[in-house]
Amino acid sequence: MDWEGQKLAEQLMQTMLMAFALVAFVTGYLLGSFETVLLIYAAGLVFTSLVTLPDWPFYNRHPVKWLDPSEAEIHPKPQFDSTSAKRKASNK
């Protein structure tokens, strides 16, 4: 799952759960049955889990672009100079 996918998964999770909670509560209140609230919300929870937990392909539409290996060769990593380090240590 790429960065955009993680953002999408979190937003989907929050909006879906809140939407299901709202639907469940309003339906249950109108029907006068608290059991209905729990049933609809549980169903919504299962559905939201199926949508947001697995790493579905649509969460991987923005793959991270790594730098080209040649770029690393043009700007090489600074080398650690062991002789100068030893000299500093002896000066102390």
């Binding site: 929050q14 759960l17 609230v37 919300y41 939201t48 947001t52």
Partner: protein, 167 residues
């Protein structure tokens, strides 16, 4: 949110938070209900009124209870516990309560009832104070909700009097 476990944890936490919030609203919706229960108790007869060997007074009576407690039920009500208590004052205690009868109402349909019963639990005074005693019959109830706060209230019915002599 980068792994299955993190997503599952976030989902579960958020879901339980919303659930707690819904339960709180459901409990709050109970306070919007303003019930208008009615109750009436008629004492039909004093079957037995004696001094026990240990010196305490005991009464056995038959009464009619008619009550309409349907307005106590809301969508968030699990059950209503209702009990009838005899309440009277003695020189030693300003309030004596003796439970005579109780019932657990599970359905709204059962909350409108008319019952003839003798006292289910023994009406015994701690002492010998009941001859000619004025007493109240009080119908207490406790509303037990599915989620949230319990409610309790009562209806006091006055004007009952025990006989002057044992029988």
């Amino acid at each position: 949110m980068h792994s299955f476990g993190y997503r599952a944890n976030a989902l579960f936490t958020f879901a339980v938070t919303i659930l707690a919030f819904m339960c709180a609203i459901a409990s709050f919706s109970d306070t919007l209900n303003s019930p208008t229960p009615t109750a009436h108790v008629q004492v039909l007869s004093i079957n037995r009124f004696q001094k026990r060997p240990d010196g305490d007074d005991e009464v056995s009576m038959t009464f009619n209870i008619s009550a309409n407690l349907r307005s106590l039920f809301t969508w968030n009500t699990k059950q209503v516990f209702v009990f009838l208590a005899a309440e009277y004052e003695t020189s030693k205690n300003s309030l004596n309560q003796v439970s005579l009868w109780d019932y657990i109402i599970l359905e709204k349909e059962d909350a409108y009832f008319r019952i003839r019963s003798t006292n289910k639990y023994r009406f015994i005074d701690q002492g010998s104070n009941l001859r000619g005693k004025d007493f109240n019959l009080t119908l207490h109830w406790h509303v037990m909700p599915k989620t949230g706060k319990m409610f309790a209230d009562k209806i006091v019915m006055t004007g009952y009097r025990l006989p002057e002599v044992y029988r």
